[in-house]
Symmetry: D4
Subunit: 145 residues, 8 copies
Amino acid sequence: MNLNVYLSGEIHSNWREQIIQGCQESNLAITFSSANTDHNESDSAGDVLGAEDKSFWRDHKSAKVNALRTNTLIERCDIAIIRFGDKYKQWNTSFDAGYCAALGKPYVTLHSEDIIHPLKEVDATAHAWATSVQQIIETLKYISK
Amino acid sequence: MNLNVYLSGEIHSNWREQIIQGCQESNLAITFSSANTDHNESDSAGDVLGAEDKSFWRDHKSAKVNALRTNTLIERCDIAIIRFGDKYKQWNTSFDAGYCAALGKPYVTLHSEDIIHPLKEVDATAHAWATSVQQIIETLKYISK
Amino acid sequence: MNLNVYLSGEIHSNWREQIIQGCQESNLAITFSSANTDHNESDSAGDVLGAEDKSFWRDHKSAKVNALRTNTLIERCDIAIIRFGDKYKQWNTSFDAGYCAALGKPYVTLHSEDIIHPLKEVDATAHAWATSVQQIIETLKYISK
Amino acid sequence: MNLNVYLSGEIHSNWREQIIQGCQESNLAITFSSANTDHNESDSAGDVLGAEDKSFWRDHKSAKVNALRTNTLIERCDIAIIRFGDKYKQWNTSFDAGYCAALGKPYVTLHSEDIIHPLKEVDATAHAWATSVQQIIETLKYISK
Amino acid sequence: MNLNVYLSGEIHSNWREQIIQGCQESNLAITFSSANTDHNESDSAGDVLGAEDKSFWRDHKSAKVNALRTNTLIERCDIAIIRFGDKYKQWNTSFDAGYCAALGKPYVTLHSEDIIHPLKEVDATAHAWATSVQQIIETLKYISK
Amino acid sequence: MNLNVYLSGEIHSNWREQIIQGCQESNLAITFSSANTDHNESDSAGDVLGAEDKSFWRDHKSAKVNALRTNTLIERCDIAIIRFGDKYKQWNTSFDAGYCAALGKPYVTLHSEDIIHPLKEVDATAHAWATSVQQIIETLKYISK
Amino acid sequence: MNLNVYLSGEIHSNWREQIIQGCQESNLAITFSSANTDHNESDSAGDVLGAEDKSFWRDHKSAKVNALRTNTLIERCDIAIIRFGDKYKQWNTSFDAGYCAALGKPYVTLHSEDIIHPLKEVDATAHAWATSVQQIIETLKYISK
Amino acid sequence: MNLNVYLSGEIHSNWREQIIQGCQESNLAITFSSANTDHNESDSAGDVLGAEDKSFWRDHKSAKVNALRTNTLIERCDIAIIRFGDKYKQWNTSFDAGYCAALGKPYVTLHSEDIIHPLKEVDATAHAWATSVQQIIETLKYISK
């Protein structure tokens, strides 16, 4: 079974690469996608459309240019992986989770045990919760059979 | 014009009461709704269905009982107000924003200027960003005409 | 908060009446509905449209006349209660659960512990699982606030 | 005409293999899919995500991991075959039928004559009822022309 | 149970009035609606928008003005009655049936036995087939309970 | 521009073959599809599922087996051609037109001038009306550029 | 038949008031709505949310605050009247027409004959084209019967 | 990331060719599409279906034949570019923008600074505003990564 899997969330560790490599080693027919994970490129995505004095509008333009890409990718995916790390607000990640939920796209969360409570609404709508990359890989192997 | 307005987010200040009172003083035909804002009641919403040893499952059950209520309210609303305070993770709030976005429900964010950057994706999809309760009231007055 | 609640499932005990009475005693603003729970009336719903020699077609006509009613009621409900008793096949009940799931209608299951395993797919999509009528009433009280 | 056909239901006889082989012998351009039909694998699908003391939660996790797979497959199929055998509750099978019905996915039921009555609602929404694998194969041949 | 019922089809007998009267005598909470059944008014519905030399465009304009009304009524109805008489082409009636089918609006056909064969596709998607006004009234009584 | 075109309607002349050949001669990237146009095969499509004494049920079963095929084809098409000849009731053809209309599938009608009036509702929702196969071919050439 | 009618377009003549008055004189059960038609108020709708140096962002904020109102009104309407005057760009008016078209909301255009050609795409999707307020009133009378 | 991009608007400059060439030079996996940009061909698209005396109906027929093509292309696109030049009414362009908005298709506007104000509603729903072809190319490069 071929799958499109969208990888949403934390950009400060190499969890994406680990999942992709683990799935490749098992020859799974999965196409992975994600937002631009280069922090600077992402923050400046809208700069080509003209400079802004206010940070709000600079952020606004960049966020919308990124959304051109991510909305399309989320619409196309079969499953999303929603990853929360231990730092930063990561509000865009739970925004993606809510967006997937309303579209009926199933998702799996990936986060450590110490943030169970603040993520309870996000986890309640998830199809699964994993604490390690290896669990995600095993789950993708299982459903790709 | 009558409106259903869903108030999502922070439960540690009285912003909901201020908005409701401000709109009542202007006799706006707005029906407000929100999740259960009593923290303890909300956390124990699923306890009636049986005790759980693991905090994950206790949270899971309570979050889903609350979702029975909030999903229905969000489906019924015309507009949501998405409020971020200066404390806590508030991932359920940006989850609500993403959920509204995918349903095509317009929302207005309410937060201070110092969290513009981490909220850029949430604000990019918003119809407006306000920094004070008074701005929300004025906006609701305007659109209720 | 007013609610439309559809009561699906077992017709051999008075669980519907108990729920309705329990909610009335608390003055909840809930409108309850259900399929025709009179077994003979339900089975003969299509007879007015002409007799059939084959039981398949008699069943077919009655099931479709009943569906005229139940499809409309399920479309209108906010929440469904899905009740499994300890006898009979009750395939129409899990059919209703699947129908609700695909429509995005949240539902709560009501069944005893000894049928957890065969109901695991139905429960996995439910917003809650209750084992007693009293738990259903308490849950409806909570979300009606 | 190429088709995606989802095979839902009984896992204790080789009806899936018979249908697939019969269609292959006629060189039909049909891609078949189904849930994991290995009972043990299916029941333990969620074990990789951590052990559970309560059977309810073990079942819950496994059912949801399986749903990650089956929801995607049902969304992609053009037609489903809904098979009821003569044993077990098979509530997940009629759940699938209801799910297909609400999505507008046409399905064909496959079951013997002695369970016509309890399946009347499931059959009423079906596009056809077959009693033998051979009838399913003939029907797929006809619509694949 | 209150219902909106749309009455589509033949305008040369008083079947609508009979159904409405029969339901009123039983105090059913049904709101009936239909297209304009005055043939001349219906054919000239677009004349107010300017005269046309070609009959095609006169028909076109009138049909579209009527559709302003009927599309809204069909969208609002819970159930449609689709009536075929023994004369005229009545293509608009089966058009309504197809329109209802694709919207998921259940309908009941009303026609005599001698046109079963040409109506087989229309009947196959119907929830019921009646041959007399009295059967329609009985069916509406049953589902209105 | 590649297109999927569904050819609905009359089965007593070779208009389908003419359109297909005309488009092939211009090398248009169009995939054509249609219901089974063999009258006997179509009428007996359900016979494999068991004999029926009543013609209503025989027709019912065959119409539904055919719908398994045609519903899928109509869902997949970009455009439909809706052809009315000068004989027979052809209610299934206007049913297809209504079905396409509600799904938002654009269609072109093909019929002679003398049935403009009874087809006014079907034509009013069409994107174009043609009186000859050649006009259909020219239109398909134009939009395939 | 009660109707919700949205009045979109030109704000420099009193066509809205004429339509509303004409319908009131006939006691039609129509609820009319429209965007804020006070040009200054509309242009400054977002000013309460903070001043902007760039006119683009001031316009952006005001347009989005107005959209909070108009999106809701268009979602609620049964029919829209789309009015083009003889001055200004009026791009928001044809934007509304396209928005209605994609939502399946029928609309009637109101404009003089000299702008037929540039409005051909907008008129092609309309249910009717009127050149005078009186024609709109007559059409609303007809469909309100 | 492969993309389908629909190019809507002005047909009097070579902005389409510039964008296509710019993207080809960077080997982007983008499939571009657009309405027929030959003014005469577009205006006469319906002529093959018969001559019309009134310019309204000639325009009507041509606009609808063109819509057969453009509706399909817009449904298939991931992103639209909405281009306004400095001449002509261009109401079909903002109609396309409104159509995309209601379908949830993200779009980028391309226009000079002097028409910001009349385009404020169109820009408010856009994901980005560009003033030069080069900015469009850079944005497409960024999101195609």
